[in-house]
């Protein structure tokens, strides 16, 4: 049961003196206004990066994997690092919308739409890497189990790489459905305010004929709740399965049972950091500071310091186990290849430690958590650190294998490998710029839902309720409708 009123002690979720129609007006303003010069510049840069990425991929497809600097020893390099990094980023959206919905966290309403969009775009970027790493990308459909003329020779259902195919594609589909079903009412709002024929037509198609019927809302609520219930284990399963790609192998540094929880915590960590980077810009550029408040930023920073510390404990546990297991290969990987600063990749390990474990600790300070500039800077640092983490896991475990004659001296990416990564940034930001321009970046209907119980200007009304005898209050709440 929902309480009708929120404690006076809680920070308001919506600042300013708002009415329902003011909420609509504020959030839809960027959609209804002409795009700014800044938007055009940003969009142009994003499309340029995307084009460079497309050319890099074109070279890789035409000339083969040799365009990258992978070799027999380091068979996974930047590509899988980037894959895991993007998938990790893609975890915050569903976490915010699903887990926080189940926990009845009202603050998710301000940030869930943009976070879910970010999830979907990040998963799209992630998917590029394993697909193009296949080399003969035109045969990518071989990963699907279907009756074929080769036997039929089926895929290996016992392989973590196939689990990944199912996990990522299910995650993408379910996130997309969750996001779009939430968008329907808001598209209807845009449609009903449309001022040109084209807008009316396109948003009319996008809204699927939504009319706000009470029965439809009832079903919509049920749908959201069940999708949230499904997405919660799903979001945990996805990065668990990604970690199985490593943990089920017998490579020192990968073959550990700590991987699933450690990967999931890392994913939430980097995902929230990316949400911060994007929303701090969005709230400023679109003037949405009343809806994406400092309180939201504060709360997300708390998640960042929590998950960052979990990740830190995981790093230390791994080091401890590297020594405690007394397995010399594990010991070599953890204490020489990684933790020894002057080993070839020691810099990446300590870069990771500095970015992920040490620097987020400043968020124990409330002043720092509520500082927009510090938060923005830290969100970038965290994502650099999380990229390092995946690089450390993949490359430092691979570059010196059991056979010293096949040790790889050093691995550095080619321009096309970097170009591919840069290109996914282009894809991500192209999608995000289009989203910010044509979609409501905040869930309008959900903000209206929390407005009267948590809006700044409505809070004083609760004084009278606070003054009531407790029995009256309980009676009121028990008959909340």
């Amino acid at each position: 049961m929902h309480l009708k009123y929120e404690s006076q002690l809680r920070e308001p979720l919506v600042y300013g003196n708002k009415t329902y129609s003011q909420v609509t007006e504020d959030i839809l303003r960027p959609i209804e206004a002409k795009p700014s010069r800044l938007w055009y510049i940003g969009f142009f840069i994003a499309v340029s990066l995307l084009s460079f990425g497309a050319y890099s991929v074109y070279r890789e497809v035409t000339y083969g994997i040799g365009q990258w600097n992978l070799n027999k020893t380091i068979g996974w390099g930047w590509d899988i690092t980037n894959f895991v990094w993007w998938v990790g980023i893609g975890h915050a959206g569903t976490l915010i919308s699903a887990v926080l919905l189940l926990f009845r966290q009202g603050w998710r309403t301000g940030v869930n739409r943009a976070a879910e969009a970010m999830t979907i775009f990040a998963v799209m970027c992630a998917g590029q890497f394993p697909i193009f790493h296949m080399g003969r990308v035109w045969m990518a459909f071989f990963v699907m189990p279907y009756p074929n003329s080769r036997g039929p020779l089926w895929v290996n259902f016992n392989s973590p790489l196939l689990w990944d195919v199912f996990a990522i594609s299910t995650y993408f589909t379910v996130s997309l459905l969750f996001w779009y079903s939430g968008l329907l009412p808001d598209f209807a709002t845009v449609r009903d305010r449309a001022f040109t024929k084209l807008r009316k037509k396109l948003y009319g198609i996008a809204a699927f004929g939504w009319n706000g019927s009470t029965k439809h809302w009832q079903r919509h609520e049920s749908l959201s709740l069940v999708l949230a219930g499904l997405s919660t284990p799903l979001v945990l399963s996805v990065h668990t399965i990604v970690s199985f790609d490593f943990a089920t192998s017998v490579i020192p540094g990968w073959h550990t049972t700590i991987f699933p929880p450690y990967f999931v915590a890392g994913a939430i960590f980097s995902g929230f950091a990316m949400v911060q980077s994007l929303l701090i810009i969005v709230r400023k550029v679109f003037g949405l500071t009343d809806y994406i408040t400092i309180g939201h930023i504060d709360l997300m920073n708390k998640v960042i310091v929590l998950t960052g510390s979990i990740v830190g404990i995981a790093y230390l546990t791994e080091l401890f186990m590297g020594w405690y297991s007394q397995n010399k290969y594990e010991g070599y990987t953890f204490w020489y290849s990684r933790a020894y600063l002057f080993s070839p990749y020691g810099w990446s390990y300590w870069g990771m430690m500095a970015c992920n474990v040490l620097s987020p600790q400043i968020f124990w300070s409330r002043k720092m958590r509520r500082n927009v500039f510090v938060t923005f800077f830290m969100s970038i640092i965290v994502n650099i650190g999380m990229w390092f983490e995946r690089f450390v896991i993949i490359v430092t475990s691979l570059y010196r294998d059991y056979l010293p004659s096949s040790w790889s001296v050093y691995y550095s990416p080619t321009i096309w490998e970097i170009g591919f990564y840069v290109g996914t940034f282009g894809l991500f930001f192209t999608c995000f710029f289009l989203f910010a321009k044509y979609f409501p970046v905040i869930a309008v209907a959900e903000i209206k839902y929390v407005l009267k119980r948590s809006g700044e200007s409505y809070k004083p009304e609760f004084d009278a309720i606070d003054a009531q005898p407790i029995d009256t209050f309980v009676h009121d709440q028990a008959h909340a409708h």
């Binding site: 689990w163 198609i205 939504w210 079903r219 839902y449």
Partner: protein, 194 residues
Amino acid sequence: MAQKKFVVGCFDDEKVLFPAVKQVRAAGYKIKDVYTPFPVHGLDHALGMRETSLHTAGFIYGITGTTTAISCISWIFTKDWPLNIGGKPHFALPAWIPIIFELTVLFAAVGMVMTFMWLCQMAPGVKKHHFHKKATDDLFVMVIECTDKTNAEDLTSLLSSKGAVETDIQIAEEGWWFGTYDTENDNLYNNVAH
């Protein structure tokens, strides 16, 4: 489809809406629907709607996914083309749990969304009559279908006395049809009967 006559009352505050819903129902009118810009909790009960069983459908879709995954994989790996993978059993259930889980979630989610769209009659290109444009902005729009016995004027004044900020009598198509929204005029003034 047949055209029907509706009395429409618009409210701008849910605190006014709830007593109005009760009184209109107590007066013997059957409320067709209330169109709201956001989910108003408890309104479905106030209107006497039964709970949705969409989640039950979701459960059925979910177990369909589970059984599909188990039966397909076990048939493939034990009957159709048993592969010897490191001498391990062909029926390797623990190794299939990830895929079984993912397919459960996939079937449940996709099935539920399709069912939701079917029940609410929503699809790209579907058009419906909207009683008030601001039902998706800030108005709660109560719609009562007129029968032979209904005195529309009485009902309109009842709605006004219960706090409706706007009232209206409309003749409209029920249900849905294919069409786009760019062809209609302002539906606030369209189809007004009086």
